[in-house]
Each structure stands twice: as structure tokens, then as C-alpha cells.
């Protein structure tokens, strides 16, 4: 096979042209046109399918599902509450900053639910100003309610909440795509799934290291660089300086200290100087004593801000926080620029994974596993063997039966059956559909339904012959009468298959796809190709009897 014919675009053009030719031939009454149209269509199908499975390094045209080639199938749930909380937290910070800037005195501003926050203790003289401020800033996406005595409740609108949720899932999917690409998985599937739209399906064919894949997928990777206000060996000592309670604009986190096994507690600013979004690149490097570290570079905008702020904070500690843990908290020695590093007690593999994850970006929310399916490669191979054996056995039996029972006409049915299978496989290659183990069962069932079409026609022709019709009329009546039955039976079967398709989960979907394509191909092969063959063989000759 020349390489040009392996090019997806050439193939696509070829099949589209063949399909167009087929439609033309279909509408022309002349048998010559049909011969050319049908023949070249089937030839194009054969080219499209070849080679069906991997051979001599050329990848196979039929994509095998996870259950046949091994791999991982995960269903994750995006914890949307995380994203809502973060959005409301941002709003809280904005409200607080703006009120302070306008010189409005207020008591507490805090989040009271995942979708709302409250402002309390506004000074009586400025309640109107506070109301205007809240309306100006949040009026579009929040509902501002007044509860008297300077108290406001700001509630996210349902529409905005829904937007936040949708964006979160989309962003999570994009992040996962980048991470999976960094893993180097071929043909991954990452898509939203489930009724409520908060689930993500991840399929990684061929991946065997489940643990690594899951770590890479699940790490939230929220990176932030924040100023350290204070640090101490225990939470109690740390809080002594600030009145025993973490202040509103700060957070307490633990991190490593010089004595192993003894964490240090840090009091950090909530506001981050730099976050994961400001990263331009991240990769593994080594530090002075040859221990692995992560080097990262900031984008231009963030570099300006970072230089400015580090220049102002020389001598203070800067904490590098990843997913709620302080990795290190070096002292700022001088103004810092674009290139920086994260040191810590990493193994090389950890550093490598982390840098990949950081480069791919943070997840907007935590992910929870709902379902996990891993298939070992050898189990997949066993399944293929069993499935193909079963299909071949079924096929062989049907071929023998048709030839014995319908003699020469049976040969016609066998040709139609082969055409049916060929079109089915070509359509699967053409649409990048996946062949799963239940899909192989679908192929076997297609063969069964295909035979039914032939049997319907042949029995009808026999009946017509018994009623004394000539061969030519019997064939014509046979096909004409049966067409409506075939349309009805195929339409209901397709309806059933479409419901299977909405089931959504990998292997069953593959089964439904195979079934639908097989049914459509069947109408063409077992009805139209078969009819053409009868008419072609009959030609203009006068025929006395039919081998049926």
C-alpha cells in the first residue's frame, strides 16, 4: 500500500469521493453505473481499513477500546463547591478592599455559604455608600439584600453560579488535557459526562502505571508565592503574637523545618504575590548539592509585579505554597526576576511529575474519583482472541448454512455479508469509532441481522416462484415487497441502539456505534448490493430457473 493512501486527509477525500459516486450510482438505473459506483465504493472501503491492526509499525486503522488494548478509565467528579467558594472569596476580598479605599467603616466581611457572603456592622452614616458600592461591583452577578443595622447579604444569582460551574468543568477538562499530553498518552479521551455535568471521563488507552497517571491527574497544583508574616514551631506560639486567632487576611500552614519530622508553622498573607497562572514554563533542574529542584519562569507581566514587590520586601521570607503545603520559605535576598526555583525534598521522579503538572496549570477545583477501571494488556489480548474466535465461528457457520440452503443465491448472500462487514469496518476507521469487546459482539449481531435481510428476500423470491412467477418477476417482487419490512425492522433496531448510545460509558457506547453503523451498512449490502448482483448475473438473458 503506497504511503500516500495512508494519509488521513487523502483517505478522507477518497472515501468522500467514493461516497458521492455511490450516491450517484444509486440514483442511476443503469447497471453499469451501479457496478462502477458500488465497486469503487467497496474498494475505497478496503483501502480505508487496511491495515486493520498494527503491522510492521504501521498503526492499525481500527481503534481498539480500552477493554481490548488495556489502559485506564476514570470517572472523576469536580467538587464544584471549591470553585464557588473561591469565586465568593475573591468577591469578599474585593468588597473589603473597595470599602476600605472609600473609607467606609465596617465590621466583618465573610463568606457564609458557597454562593453568598455577608457584610456586617457598616457604620450607620455610610450604609447608603456601602449599598451603592456592593450594587456597583456585584449587581450583575449577585443579588444584594439588606438586613438592617448595616448588614448586607450578597447572594450569587443562579445564572452566575451555573456559569461558574460550567467554566470550572471546562477549565478542569482543558487542564487535564494538557497534563495527559505531558504524559504522552496516544488517543486519550477527556470529556464531560454524567447527568449533572459535573463529572469528567478520562480514558487513557495503553497506560499501565495507574498510580502515576492518577497522581498526575488528581494533583490540584495550586501554586502560590506569598509573604510570610511569622513562623513558629507550634500553632500556639505562632498565634500568640496575633491575639490567639488567625487574622482575616491571613492563613496558617505547615511546612518543613531544619529538623526532620518537626514541622514549622507559618502565618501567611492570603493574597498571593504570584500564582500558578503567572507561570511561563517549569522544568526539572538540580540545586548546588545536586538535589532535584523545579525551575520555573514567569511571564512578562508577572515578572514586573514580582520584581517590584520583592524589591520592597527584601529580608522577608517568601513561602512557596503548593496545594496547601509550604514547600520552602527562603528569605528574599535581592530583587527577583523571571527565573526562579522551588527546592524541597523531592525525588527526581516527583520533581519531574510536579514540573509537568505545574506547566499544565492548576485545576480550578478538587477532583474526586467515582469510578476506576484498569485493564491489563494481557487480559485485553485474551478478550480479542476470544471475541474474534467467536465472530469467526459464527461467520463460518452462517456461510456454510447459506451455501447449503440457498445454493448459488447463498453465494450472493455471502458476498453481501462480506460487503456489510467491510463497510462496517471502514465506517469505524473513517469516523474514528472505537472497537470494544461488546463492539465485537455487535459485529456478530450485525452478521445475524444481515443474514435476516437475505433470508427475508430469498424466502419471498421462493414464494413468488412457487406462485408461478417467472424468475425475473419473482426477484423483482421479492425485493420490492421486502423493502418496507427492512426499513421498519432496521428503524426500530436503530432506535434501540440510539438509547444504548446515550448510556455513555465506553464499551457499551462502542457496541451501540457498531450496531448503528452495521445496520445502515446492512441495508446497503444485503439489499442493494444483493439486488444488483441478481440483476447483473441475470443480465438480458432469458432465465428458466434460479438456484435458490
Amino acid at each position: 500500500m503506497p504511503p500516500a493512501l495512508q494519509n488521513p486527509i487523502t483517505l478522507w477525500l477518497l472515501l468522500t469521493a467514493a461516497l458521492a459516486g455511490l450516491v450517484y450510482a444509486f440514483m442511476r438505473p443503469e447497471l453499469r453505473w451501479k457496478a462502477i459506483g458500488y465497486g469503487s465504493f467497496l474498494l475505497a472501503c478496503a483501502v480505508a481499513v487496511w491495515p486493520p491492526y498494527e503491522r510492521d509499525g504501521v498503526p492499525g486503522k481500527i481503534h481498539l477500546g480500552l477493554d481490548l488494548r488495556g489502559g485506564i478509565h476514570l470517572v472523576l467528579q469536580v467538587v464544584l463547591e471549591d470553585a464557588l467558594n473561591a469565586t465568593v472569596d475573591d468577591a469578599v476580598t474585593t468588597a473589603r478592599d473597595q470599602a476600605t479605599r472609600k473609607g467606609i467603616q465596617f465590621g466583618a466581611v465573610q463568606r457564609v455559604s458557597p454562593t453568598s457572603f455577608s457584610v456586617e456592622g457598616t457604620e450607620p452614616a455610610r450604609v447608603k455608600d456601602m449599598r451603592d458600592l456592593l450594587r456597583d461591583f456585584f449587581g450583575r452577578s449577585y443579588e444584594v439584600r439588606e438586613a438592617g443595622e448595616g448588614k448586607f447579604t450578597v447572594q450569587m444569582t443562579d445564572l452566575y453560579a451555573r456559569q461558574v460551574k460550567e467554566q470550572t468543568v471546562q477549565e478542569a477538562i482543558r487542564t487535564l488535557e494538557r497534563r495527559v499530553n505531558a504524559l504522552g498518552v496516544a488517543e486519550p479521551v477527556i470529556a464531560a459526562t454524567g447527568n449533572r455535568g459535573d463529572q469528567i471521563l478520562v480514558q487513557l488507552p495503553g497506560v499501565t502505571d495507574v498510580e502515576q497517571a492518577k497522581r498526575i491527574i488528581k494533583t490540584t497544583a495550586q501554586l502560590s508565592l506569598r509573604l510570610v508574616e511569622n513562623s513558629a514551631a507550634s500553632p500556639e506560639t505562632l498565634l500568640q503574637g496575633v491575639g490567639g486567632k488567625v487574622p482575616d487576611n491571613m492563613e496558617m500552614m505547615s511546612g518543613p523545618s531544619d529538623t526532620p519530622g518537626q514541622p514549622t508553622y507559618f502565618l501567611l498573607r492570603k493574597e498571593a504575590m504570584i500564582t500558578g497562572r503567572d507561570l511561563k514554563s517549569a522544568r526539572v533542574g538540580v540545586d548546588e548539592s545536586n538535589r532535584p529542584q523545579i525551575n520555573f519562569a514567569l511571564n512578562a507581566l508577572a515578572t514586573d509585579k514580582f520584581s517590584r514587590e520583592t524589591a520592597r520586601s527584601i529580608g522577608r521570607q517568601l513561602a512557596i505554597v503548593l496545594d496547601g503545603t509550604v514547600y520552602s520559605a527562603p528569605v528574599i535576598q535581592s530583587k527577583l526576576g523571571s527565573e526562579n526555583r522551588i527546592t524541597g525534598r523531592f525525588t527526581t521522579q516527583e520533581a519531574d511529575e510536579l514540573s509537568k503538572i505545574l506547566k499544565a496549570g492548576a485545576l480550578p477545583a478538587t477532583l474526586k474519583y467515582l469510578q476506576q477501571l484498569t485493564v491489563g494488556a494481557s487480559l485485553g489480548r485474551d478478550s480479542i482472541r476470544a471475541g474474534v474466535t467467536a465472530a469467526a465461528a459464527g461467520m463460518a457457520f452462517i456461510v456454510i448454512f447459506m451455501l447449503v440452503y440457498y445454493r448459488l443465491s447463498g453465494l450472493n448472500a455471502v458476498v453481501a455479508l462480506a460487503a456489510n462487514l467491510l463497510i462496517l469496518l471502514a465506517a469505524m476507521a473513517y469516523t474514528n469509532a472505537t472497537l470494544t469487546l461488546p463492539g465485537i459482539a455487535g459485529v456478530i449481531l450485525t452478521i445475524g441481522v444481515g443474514v435476516d435481510t437475505n433470508v427475508l428476500v430469498f424466502e419471498r423470491i421462493r414464494e413468488e416462484l412457487r406462485n408461478g412467477k417467472t424468475v425475473r418477476v419473482a426477484i423483482q417482487n421479492g425485493f420490492d415487497r421486502v423493502l418496507i419490512t427492512i426499513i421498519d425492522t432496521h428503524a426500530t433496531a436503530i432506535i434501540a441502539a440510539l438509547f444504548l448510545f446515550t448510556f455513555g460509558t465506553g464499551p457499551i457506547k462502542g457496541f451501540a456505534v457498531t450496531l448503528v453503523i452495521g445496520l445502515v451498512a446492512n441495508v446497503f449490502a444485503s439489499y442493494f448490493v444483493s439486488r444488483f448482483l441478481f440483476e447483473w448475473v441475470l443480465g438480458k438473458r432469458h432465465v428458466e430457473s434460479l438456484s435458490i
Binding site: L373, L379, F401, V455, D488, A497
Partner: protein
């Protein structure tokens, strides 16, 4: 070559015996399901299923001993061909939501500790959280109902009479119930594949019904003077050879699936084998008698009703 020459059986006359037989099968099936409970596969019940491929022939007793400490009551059995050195471990307890992997990891670690002389070469796993399982179960029931309903509507529209759709759908439901009874009786698990097989066989059964309905429609147009029961019965006889050949060949190819399709497809194959048999039967002895009964009742009620298909 012909299987039957000029068949002329009185299907409708015997219908009441067959309806009784069907009711008996459905009732026993429901009784079996009620007594024994339906065994759901891991994707529906939630939990953990591992398929472990050992280097040497595994000793199930020793494995059970090693696993029991970690996951008491786990089901352990040889998987597929005994020479394949594969063992299936099924842990019923729901995996904790925070750490779905914990039970599977526990079992693997326990085996490495106390059965380490026979290392695991490869392990496949299916872990389903409790929420997903329950959701999927609901979805399966809904899909079956909606699928049948959609086919009912299509047939009712094509045959210009709701009863044709109802008859085909009742026959389909009949097939599902009987298959479920058989599956439970022979201790098959209801897995996703089995659900797929059930939905497919509904399609197949309805398909089979339509072929006969279609013949009835044609005969109704040609033989306006004949009474409906005779037309129904003749249509069944006229399509009998096709019914036997088509369903016979499909039956044998799904039998091949059941026999050679391997462990994963065994439940699927079994469902299809039973389903094709029951689906053929229900066309002749359930769907057509329902149509006959309906129009007969209308006629008895006074109006000179005529089938409109």
C-alpha cells in the same frame, strides 16, 4: 431445500396455553429474583473487582486466606481458562469515597506479604463508588423503559394503530422479564454488558415481531373479506420459514459467542442465547395473540371493528 413444506399451524388457537406458560415463567422468574435477589455486577452495586494474573498456577485457598484478613467475605474464584493463572477477587464493601483505591491496594499488599512466592504479573481492576452504581442502575431501568416506549411509538405510527405498538412492546417486556429470571436462576451477574444485551434483544424481538406484522399488513390489504384471526394465523405461517432460518442462524452465532467469547462476554452471550429463543417465541405466542384479542374484543363490543394496519 426447504425446512417445512407449506406450514399451516394453528398458532392462535393454542395461544392461551402459551400465554399461561409465559406467565408461569415470568412468575417463577420474579419469585427467584425476590428470593435470591438480583446479583448486580460491580458497576451497579459499587465495590471493587480485581482480576489478578499470577506467575504460577494460583492456589485459591491460600489467596483466600491472605485476602480474608484484609477484606473479609471477599469472593475469590478462578477467572476464565484455569491454565491462564487468573483469579477474580470481588470485594463487596463500598470503597471509601475519599480513597477509592484503598481496598484494592490492601488486597494487593496483603497478597504480596503472605503469598509473595507467586507474584502478580498484571492486575486489572474495576472500582466503582457507591453513587455511580446507584445512578447507573436507575439509568439502566429508564433506558429500557424509554427504549421500549420509543419503539412502541414508531410501530404505532407505522401501523396506524396503538395496539400494534403495545403488542410489540409487551412482547419485548415479556422477553426481558423471562431473561432476567433465567439470568438470576443461573446465577449470572447483571453487568453493563448484560444490560446492553437485554436492550439489544428487545430490539431484536421487536424486529422479529415487525416482520410478521408487516406480512399481516400486506395480507389485510389483499384479502379484505377474510376474518382477522385467519389473516394473523396465515401471516405467521407464511413467515415461519424465515423466522426459523433467521433466528436459527442468529441463535447459533450468539451460541458461539457464549461458548467461545471468553469470560467477559459470557453473560452477554447467555442473555442473547435465551433472548433470541424467547424473542422468537413471544412474536408468535404473545404479540400476535394480543392484537387478535384486542380487535376481537372490539368486535364483540358491538362495533364492526376492522383492523386498520
Amino acid at each position: 431445500m426447504e425446512i417445512i413444506k407449506n406450514p399451516n399451524y394453528d398458532f392462535l388457537g393454542k395461544a392461551k396455553y402459551f400465554v399461561a406458560l409465559s406467565l408461569f415463567f415470568i412468575a417463577s422468574g420474579i419469585a427467584v429474583m425476590a428470593l435470591r435477589g438480583i446479583a448486580y455486577g460491580v458497576e451497579f452495586s459499587g465495590g471493587t473487582q480485581l482480576i489478578l494474573h499470577f506467575q504460577n498456577p494460583p492456589e485459591v485457598d491460600k489467596i483466600r486466606h491472605a485476602v480474608d484478613a484484609q477484606a473479609p467475605g471477599a469472593m475469590i474464584q478462578t477467572y476464565g481458562d484455569p491454565k491462564a493463572n487468573k483469579v477474580l477477587v470481588r470485594i463487596g464493601q463500598a470503597a471509601p469515597e475519599s480513597d477509592l483505591d484503598a481496598p484494592a491496594r490492601g488486597v494487593r499488599e496483603a497478597l504480596a506479604r503472605s503469598y509473595g512466592q507467586n507474584p502478580i504479573l498484571e492486575s486489572s481492576s474495576e472500582i466503582v463508588g457507591p453513587i455511580v452504581g446507584a445512578e447507573l442502575r436507575q439509568k439502566a431501568v429508564w433506558l429500557t423503559v424509554l427504549g421500549l416506549l420509543a419503539q412502541l411509538i414508531y410501530i404505532a405510527a407505522r401501523f396506524k394503530g396503538g395496539i400494534w405498538g403495545v403488542a410489540a412492546a409487551v412482547a419485548g417486556l415479556h422477553d426481558i422479564l423471562i431473561c432476567l429470571g433465567f439470568l438470576t436462576f443461573f446465577r449470572f451477574e447483571i453487568t453493563l454488558n448484560v444490560i446492553a444485551a437485554l436492550l439489544t434483544l428487545v430490539g431484536y424481538s421487536v424486529n422479529d415481531t415487525i416482520v410478521v406484522f408487516d406480512r399481516v399488513r400486506e395480507n389485510l390489504g389483499k384479502r379484505r373479506k377474510d376474518p382477522l384471526p385467519k389473516i394473523l394465523n396465515d401471516s405467521m405461517n407464511q413467515t415461519l420459514t424465515r423466522t426459523l432460518i433467521s433466528n436459527g442462524t442468529t441463535f447459533l452465532s450468539v451460541l458461539g459467542l457464549y461458548l467461545f467469547g471468553g469470560e467477559v462476554l459470557r453473560g452477554f452471550g447467555f442473555t442473547m442465547v435465551i433472548g433470541i429463543l424467547v424473542g422468537t417465541y413471544s412474536t408468535l405466542f404473545i404479540a400476535l395473540p394480543i392484537v387478535n384479542w384486542w380487535y376481537g374484543r372490539q368486535e364483540r363490543a358491538g362495533a364492526p371493528a376492522k383492523a386498520t394496519a
